[in-house]
């Protein structure tokens, strides 16, 4: 068997694929962050908590209402998105004129409150959530055993990411959105309801986080701190990709998943720091991020 740096190539392929799967989550989450930052200029630290709420919503639908995974995939993002809309209307809308820092403090505080409430109610050790029947089992690819569910995660995440990118960059609706962030007064003069558009955008970004949460529920433990563990990495991904760049966050999400996967093979102890090392290097060389334009 051929080897690269002492690791069999077959094992390496497996690890690359795994990296891609983790990258799917990074991409989905950082996409939502990038949309919200790009269009609202809010650094949404509540994103991790909203991801966690998505997973809990899936659990709740199954345990209390008997609605399975596919229902959760459709309903949880909407439900959590609505809570996002409420938060935007009641709180965030008051902060747009102020410094970024206020939005950051508010969303960070909210995240702590939400996590605390969930921990109080559900404890910290997590709740079980099974993989849907249709996606159980897996396929032997020769170099690794790929669970069907993980294959689904890559597929679904790619579709959602590219769909979002398409809507924002290539459609008329997206053009309005981008125009509204550049110059809200002018867009309003054309008869478009800018505040409502902003609210719905935030709701959509939050819905994306919840969607990622539903997809994560069957593979990670559904627990109150699941978002807090992930959000810092996702922020690093957004910073590396360039704040606000949609395609940048998608590509960076997948790429960093791959790099992290490789680190887990060659030097596992560093696997939770490697992303931050890359972030530091990128910030030194390109402060606006790999895909970001300086503002």
């Amino acid at each position: 068997m051929t080897e690269i740096f002492g690791v069999p190539t077959q094992a390496l392929f497996g690890q690359l694929l795994i990296g891609l799967i983790n990258g799917s989550f990074y991409a989905l989450l950082s996409l939502g962050l990038a949309v919200i930052f790009g269009l609202l200029n809010i650094i949404n630290f509540t994103h991790g908590a909203q991801y966690m709420m998505g997973a809990f919503a899936a659990w709740f639908l199954l345990a209390k209402l008997g609605l399975g995974y596919w229902w959760a995939l459709a309903l949880a993002p909407v439900a959590v998105g609505v809570t996002g809309v409420i938060v935007e209307r009641l709180m965030l809308a008051r902060l747009y004129k102020l410094d970024h820092l206020y939005g950051l403090l508010l969303t960070f505080g909210l995240a702590l409150v939400i996590q605390g409430l969930f921990r109080h109610e559900f404890g910290s050790s997590g709740l079980p959530y099974a993989i849907p029947k249709a996606l159980e089992g897996g396929t032997n690819l020769g170099f690794m055993y790929l669970p069907n569910y993980r294959a689904w995660v890559i597929f679904a995440s790619l579709v959602v990411c590219l769909g979002t990118w398409f809507v924002i960059e290539k459609t008329r609706l997206g053009a309005y959105l981008r125009a509204a962030t550049e110059n809200p007064e002018l867009v309003r003069a054309f008869g478009i309801n800018v505040p409502r558009m902003i609210t719905l955008t935030y709701g959509f970004g939050v819905g994306l986080a919840a969607l990622a949460g539903v997809m994560a529920a069957p593979i990670y433990t559904v627990s109150p701190q699941m978002g807090a563990d992930l959000i810092i990495v996702v922020f690093a991904v957004v910073v590396i990709g360039g704040m606000g760049s949609i395609m940048g966050s998608i590509v960076t999400g997948f790429a960093l998943g791959l790099i992290e996967g490789l680190t887990k093979v060659f030097y596992p102890e560093a696997s939770n720091t490697v992303i931050f090392i890359i972030m530091a290097i990128v910030l030194m060389i390109r402060p606006a991020g790999l895909f970001g334009a300086a503002r």
């Binding site: 910290s124 997590g126 993989i131």
Partner: protein
């Protein structure tokens, strides 16, 4: 730092120097330090505080005219946070004993401070066997279990049933290293072989990469030298990657009842594990656990929480007998007296600070065997107290002559 205090026996404020003649500032202060909000919060956390309060009540502190305060702090599994709390407790708040302390890295840090300040430390949830080995002090007691006893229980049972090649998935900090080291020794002693190991960051959420490495190692047994959410995530994701279907087997080296609860029997069934306590062992444990559950949202106690109860009770008895709350004097008294309570039955504390009692090898029930929530274990073997822990002579503790 968030910490709150709670008065327990406020009603007996007027004890006026009878029983408490030698008790510093008239109050016995017990500081329960653990993870109140993170990955270890359910297996110890607020439940440990409930257990400590039950011990104060069962000891009858109020009736005996002894004033006992319980303080609570969240060390967030960080040694620096734990050290800061310990110093503040000992120096400013006049805490007499620190209790529970999960997370071995924090245990070892607080152990040093307890020695330096000449106070007492009683560990229930923390696991490292070094606490009664090279790091032992006259100020500390290790109550519930340790990495050696877990390795000895689960490790040897698995090797004897044919699981003779091992791959370790190890949490990358003091606890994981100690558990891996102690288990590896047991595996080798019983004629097994270790074919590989990988150290994962603590805490981690995605184990797929490490599981893949374990899978390609072809080891018969994947030893999980981690705890809490790390263990449940690894087992959950292992099922997804077809680890068990592919003929490999997990050995959960430290699994708590709450972990099995979180996993669900479907995923956890058949798992072998070693614990010091289970609620459904005998009439006493059942009755005690029933009381505990009423005070703790219906959840049955883990061995860590039961250990806090048992240790607090014995500590208070020793304070009464020694007529002082001076750290090393109470610890010495605890070593002199045999221990007995509803949760752990009879036991004793050795010179190296190890509390010895029976340990149990459990197997997780199949969903069809379980009568409902919390009915999860069946006893596979009882490991008698004298064999359950590392012999005093082998730990390298300087207190043992």
């Amino acid at each position: 730092m968030k910490y709150k205090r709670s008065l327990i026996a406020a009603a007996v404020a007027m004890l006026a120097g009878t029983a408490g003649a030698q008790v510093s500032d008239g109050v016995v202060k017990i500081g329960v330090m653990n993870d109140q909000s993170g990955t270890y919060a359910d297996l110890a956390g607020p439940g440990s505080v409930v257990a400590a309060r039950m011990a104060v009540e069962d000891f009858g502190a109020a009736k005996k005219g002894m004033k006992v305060d319980i303080l609570v702090a969240d060390h967030q599994n960080k040694p620096d946070v734990g050290s800061t709390i310990a110093r503040q407790w000992f120096d400013v708040d006049k805490v007499d004993v620190i209790m529970d302390v999960p997370t071995s890295s924090v245990v070892l840090a607080v152990n040093q401070i307890a020695k330096e300040k000449n106070k007492a430390l009683i560990v229930s949830t923390g696991a490292t066997s070094d606490l009664t080995g090279k790091a032992c002090t006259p100020n500390a007691i290790h109550w519930t279990y340790d990495t050696w006893s877990l390795a000895n229980g689960t490790g040897s049972a698995v090797v004897k049933t044919g699981g003779d090649t091992w791959f370790f998935l190890t949490a990358d900090y003091a606890f994981g290293h100690a558990l891996e080291r102690d288990t590896e020794a047991v595996v080798l002693k019983n004629g097994g072989k270790v074919v590989g190991k990988v150290r994962h960051p603590f805490p981690a959420s995605d184990f797929s990469s490490f599981l893949l490495q374990a899978q390609s190692s072809k080891a018969k047994v994947i030893g999980l030298a981690n705890a809490g959410a790390d263990t449940t995530n690894a087992i959950k994701q292992g099922a997804e990657f077809g680890i068990v279907k592919g003929g490999q087997q997990f050995a959960g080296l430290l699994v708590f009842l709450t972990d099995v609860h979180a996993l669900g029997l479907d995923k956890a069934q058949g798992l072998l594990l070693t614990e010091a306590f289970y609620w459904d062992l005998n009439p006493q444990t059942r009755a005690w656990s029933e009381r505990f559950a009423k005070l703790h949202k219906g959840a049955k106690p883990t061995m860590a929480q039961a250990g806090v109860y048992s240790a607090t009770l014995h500590y208070l008895k020793a304070v009464e007998a020694a007529k002082t709350d001076d750290g090393p004097k109470v610890i010495a008294q605890m070593k002199k007296m045999p221990s007995e309570d509803a949760a752990f039955g009879k036991g004793r504390v050795r010179q190296d600070g190890r509390h010895v009692h029976d340990m149990y090898l459990f197997e997780v029930k199949k969903p069809s065997e379980s009568k409902g929530p919390w009915d999860y274990y069946k006893v596979r073997a009882t490991i008698p107290a004298e064999q359950a822990f590392r012999p005093e002579s082998e730990g390298g503790c300087p207190l043992v002559k």
